[in-house]
Amino acid sequence: MKLRRIIILVSAVAVLVVAAAWAVSYITFLNTGNLLKPEGDIGVYSDSSCTNEVTSINWGDVSLGTTKNYTTYIKNKGTVNVVISLNTTNWNPSNAKDYIQLSWDYDGRVLHPGDVLEVKFFLQAPSESHGITSFTFTAVIAVNV
C-alpha cells in the first residue's frame, strides 16, 4: 500500500515535471513566437554612445560646388541582422532633387543586433544655384531584414 502510494506520488511528480517541461517549452515557444514578427529597428545618433538621436540635419550654408558632411552613428536596436538603404523624398523646391545630392559612406555591410556603425552623410551642392537659395527634403533610411 505504502509502495503504491509512493508510485502514485512519483507518477504525480512525473506528470508535474512533464507538465512543467511542457509549460517551459510553451513559454519558450511563445518567445519564439515573438520572433515570428521580427522587425529591423535602427537608431540614428549624433554621438558614438548613441544618446542623442538625430531627427533632422541642418546643413547650414553650403557653398556652390562644395560638399559638406555630417557624421552619424547608426545602431541596430533590433534582434535580427539588417542592412540599410538610403533614399530621399519631399524635396522643396522640387527641382532641388535634380541638383543637390545626398549620399553616405555606408558600404552595405550587415548590421548585427547591437552593432553601432559610424556613417557619414554627404550633401553635394551644385556648381550653379539654378535659382535655389534654400532647400528641405526628407532622407529615408530603409531597414531591410
Binding site: L36, G40, V62, A125, V140
Partner: protein, 659 residues
C-alpha cells in the same frame, strides 16, 4: 520628424507561420522593413565671404566695414550693406562690383554713432550675375567709450598719465601733440600698458610732426630701453600711428646695447602704421613677440600688421657685435627658446593665411634704410614681408635684407616667411632654417640674391626644426648679384631643401594664393597714406624716370562740408639739392570737398630727371586741409624706372595743417 512604417502582414499569413512554428519549435525569420526618416534643410551659398572686419570703434569717427566676397558661380554683381548704426536698421542701396570679377572687397565707410558702448550690428548681402544672393551674417561691434584723450606733451610721464586716464574712463585712446619731445626713458622707465579689451589707439600728428626722441647725453652707457612696451592678452585691438620714434644717436650706445621703438607683446590684430623709426635706435624699430617673461602669452600668440612705416638709420656701427648687436627694422619672435608644441608642423596650414592663426605678422608698404636686416625672425615666428622698399643695408656687416634666422643653441629659428613684391636695393634674401616663399621681388644685391645656409647648430636632435626646407623661390628679378645669385651651403650638415618654382597641389603641396593685399587691417584711413611710393635711383650718371605724381584722396562719405577753405599750396620733390617745386594753389571753391576722384588741379608730371650721383630724394606737401582728407590721402607714383642704384634714400614729409 522621425517615423517608423512597418510592413503589415495578413492575419492568415501570420497564422500559417505561427502554426509552422508551433510544429517545428524553431526560430523563423520573416521579411520585414522599417523606415527611419530624417528631415534635412539648408541654404546654397552662391557667394562666400571672408576677412570681414572693421577699422575703428571710435565714436563719431569714420569706420570702414569690409568683407572679401567671392562668387562661386558667375561673376559678382552687387552688394548691399545694412546696419543699425543710426539707431534703427537701414539697408543701403545696392552697390555694383566692377564688371567681370569673381572676387572683390565690399567696403562701406560710415561715421560711427556717437553713443559710447553702443552695440552696432551690420551685415552684407551680395549676389552674382545669376542674381543668387548670399548673406555674410550679422556682425557686431561695440563703440568705444569716447574718443582720444590728449597727452600734455610727448614726455614719458605725460603720455603714460594720458594712457592710464584714458583706460580708466574707457576712452578709445590717446593723442600726442605735435612737437620734438624729449622722451626721457631709461631702461624700465618707459611707456607701458595692457591694451583694454575694447581696444586702444595711440595717435601722433604724423611722421616728423610728433617726434619722441631719447636723451642723447645723460647716459654714459645706455641700457636697452623700450620706448613703448604694450601687451594685449585681453584681445583688444591696438593701433599706433603718426609718431616718429628717434634714438639717442650713436655717441652713447655701446656694444650689444641699443633701444627699441615699440615692443608689441601678445596683441591680436594690432596695427602700427605711418610711424618712423630712426636716430640709431640700435636694437629694433619694432619688436613683435609673445614671450611670457615680457608679459605675453605664448599660446595666445601675436597677430597684426605693420604698414606704411619708415625704418631709417637704425644701425649703429660702434655698437655692432655679431652675437649681441641686433639693429633690425622689425624683429619677430613667437616664444622664448625652443617650443616644439607651438612650432608649426605643416607650413601649408599657415601659407597665405592670417585669420585664425595665433601668430602671424605682416609687414607691408614700409621703407627701410641702414638697418642690419629689414626684418628678422626667429623662435618659430610666422610672417609676411611684402610691397616694401629696402633702400640700403648697413655696409658694416653683409647680411640679408630679409632674414629667416637659423636654429641656434638658444632657440628655434624662423618657421615660415613669405617675401614678395619687394624692392631690395642692397642685399638679397637669407634663410637659415624653416621655410618660406620668395617671389616677385626685385633684387639688387651687393653680394648674393639668395643665400640658403643650413642653420648653425651641432645639436643632433634638432631636426627637422633646424633644417632649411619648404623653401620656394620663383619669378624674382635679379638686377645685380656680383657674388653670384645663389649661395647654397649645408655647413657640413644636411643639404637644405628648396625649389625654384611655386608650390603646387599637384606636387603634394598647395596651390598657393597670397593673403589679400592690402591687409584688411590697413583699410583704415587713420592718417595720410602714401601708396605705391617707391623712389628708386639709377646708377650714377643715368636717368631717373617717372611720368607722373598723382594726389588722390579716397574714402567715404565722398563729400564733406566745412566752414574753412581747404588748400594745398605746394608739392615739392627734391633730388639732393635740386628741388623741383610745383605750386599747386588748389583750394575748395566752396566748403564742399569731394573724394574718390583724382584732383585734376594737382596732377603733376615730372619726366626724365637726371641724377648725377647717389642722391637723397624728398617729397613734401604743404597746405591746409581737413583732417578727414589727410587721413585718406594717397600719393600715387606711376611708371617708375627700373634701374636701381646701390645707395639712395628718400624721405616723405608734410607740412600740412589740419582742421
Amino acid at each position: 520628424m522621425r517615423e517608423k512604417n512597418r510592413v503589415q502582414f495578413s492575419k492568415t499569413k501570420l497564422a500559417t507561420l505561427a502554426l509552422v512554428s508551433l510544429l517545428s519549435f524553431s526560430v523563423i525569420v520573416i521579411y520585414a522593413v522599417t523606415q527611419t526618416m530624417i528631415s534635412n534643410y539648408g541654404s546654397l551659398l552662391a557667394i562666400t565671404f571672408s576677412n570681414a572686419g572693421i577699422t575703428s570703434t571710435v565714436p563719431s569717427e569714420p569706420c570702414t566695414f569690409y568683407v572679401y566676397c567671392t562668387a562661386l558661380s558667375g561673376n559678382l554683381s552687387h552688394f548691399i550693406f545694412g546696419t543699425n548704426n543710426t539707431g534703427s536698421w537701414v539697408n543701403d542701396t545696392a552697390v555694383a562690383f566692377a564688371k567681370g570679377v569673381t572676387s572683390a572687397w565690399a567696403n562701406i565707410t560710415k561715421i560711427l554713432n556717437s553713443t559710447a558702448n553702443m552695440k552696432v550690428q551690420w551685415n552684407v548681402w551680395a549676389n552674382n550675375t545669376d542674381n543668387a544672393w548670399s548673406a555674410l551674417g550679422t556682425q557686431t561691434l561695440t563703440i568705444s567709450a569716447s574718443s582720444l584723450i590728449e597727452a600734455k606733451s610727448g614726455s614719458v610721464r605725460d603720455i603714460q598719465d594720458a594712457i592710464d586716464y584714458a583706460i580708466s574712463i574707457g576712452a578709445a585712446g590717446v593723442q600726442i601733440p605735435a612737437g620734438n619731445w624729449l622722451f626721457d626713458a631709461n631702461g624700465n622707465t618707459h611707456v607701458s600698458f595692457n591694451v583694454p579689451s575694447n581696444g586702444f589707439k595711440i595717435q601722433g600728428m604724423g611722421i616728423n610732426e610728433t617726434i619722441l626722441h631719447l636723451a642723447d647725453a645723460n647716459e654714459s652707457s645706455a641700457s636697452t630701453t623700450i620706448m613703448f612696451q604694450i601687451t594685449g592678452t585681453s584681445g583688444g585691438m591696438l593701433e599706433i600711428t603718426g609718431i616718429t620714434f628717434r634714438g639717442r644717436g650713436d655717441s652713447n650706445v655701446n656694444i650689444g646695447a641699443g633701444d627699441v621703438g615699440i615692443a608689441v607683446v601678445s596683441c591680436r590684430d594690432f596695427r602700427i602704421h605711418h610711424c618712423r623709426f630712426d636716430g640709431k635706435l640700435g636694437r629694433d624699430g619694432i619688436q613683435v613677440v609673445a614671450i611670457s617673461w615680457m608679459g605675453g602669452n605664448e599660446a595666445f600668440g601675436c597677430r597684426g600688421v605693420i604698414d606704411h612705416c619708415q625704418f631709417a638709420d637704425i644701425f649703429v656701427a660702434k655698437a655692432f657685435d655679431r652675437n649681441t648687436g641686433w639693429q633690425y627694422g622689425v624683429y619677430v619672435g613667437w616664444y622664448a627658446g625652443f617650443n616644439p608644441d607651438l612650432w608649426v608642423d605643416d607650413v601649408w596650414d599657415v601659407a597665405g593665411k592670417y585669420d585664425d592663426l595665433n601668430f602671424s605678422i605682416y609687414v607691408e608698404d614700409c621703407t627701410f634704410s641702414e638697418v642690419r636686416h629689414a626684418i628678422v625672425c626667429e623662435h618659430g615666428g610666422v610672417w609676411v614681408f611684402r610691397h616694401n622698399n629696402v633702400t640700403s643695408i648697413s655696409d658694416y656687416y653683409t647680411s640679408g635684407s630679409v632674414d629667416h634666422h637659423p636654429y641656434r643653441s638658444y632657440g628655434d629659428g624662423s618657421r615660415w616667411g613669405e617675401a614678395y613684391e619687394n624692392i631690395l636695393m642692397d642685399e638679397g634674401l637669407w634663410i637659415g632654417s624653416g621655410g618660406g616663399l620668395w617671389f616677385n621681388n626685385t633684387i639688387n644685391s651687393r653680394q648674393h640674391a639668395y643665400s640658403i645656409i643650413q642653420g648653425e647648430t651641432s645639436d643632433p636632435n634638432c631636426y627637422p626644426r633646424c633644417a632649411v626646407q619648404d623653401v620656394y623661390i620663383w619669378n624674382n628679378t635679379v638686377i645685380n648679384a656680383p657674388g653670384g645669385a645663389w649661395y647654397i651651403s649645408n655647413q657640413g650638415r644636411i643639404d637644405p631643401v628648396y625649389y625654384t618654382r611655386a608650390p603646387s597641389a599637384e606636387q603634394g603641396e598647395v596651390d598657393y594664393e597670397p593673403y589679400p593685399y592690402p591687409h584688411p587691417l590697413t583699410l583704415s584711413g587713420m592718417s595720410s597714406q602714401y601708396s605705391n611710393l617707391g623712389f628708386n635711383t639709377t646708377q650714377a650718371g643715368s636717368d631717373y624716370t617717372f611720368n607722373s605724381l598723382t594726389l588722390l584722396a579716397t574714402g567715404s562719405p565722398t563729400s564733406f562740408s566745412y566752414n574753412k577753405v581747404a588748400k594745398l599750396l605746394m608739392f615739392d620733390i627734391t633730388f639732393g639739392n635740386d628741388k623741383r617745386q610745383s605750386v599747386v594753389n588748389w583750394e575748395t571753391s566752396a566748403s564742399a570737398i569731394s573724394l574718390n576722384e583724382i584732383w585734376p588741379s594737382i596732377l603733376l608730371t615730372y619726366q626724365k630727371v637726371g641724377i648725377a650721383t647717389c642722391t637723397a630724394v624728398q617729397l613734401m606737401l604743404r597746405g591746409k586741409i581737413p583732417r578727414v582728407i589727410w587721413k585718406n590721402l594717397a600719393v600715387l607714383i606711376h611708371n617708375i624706372g627700373k634701374n636701381f642704384g646701390p645707395k639712395s634714400h628718400f624721405f616723405v614729409q608734410h607740412l600740412v595743417d589740419m582742421f
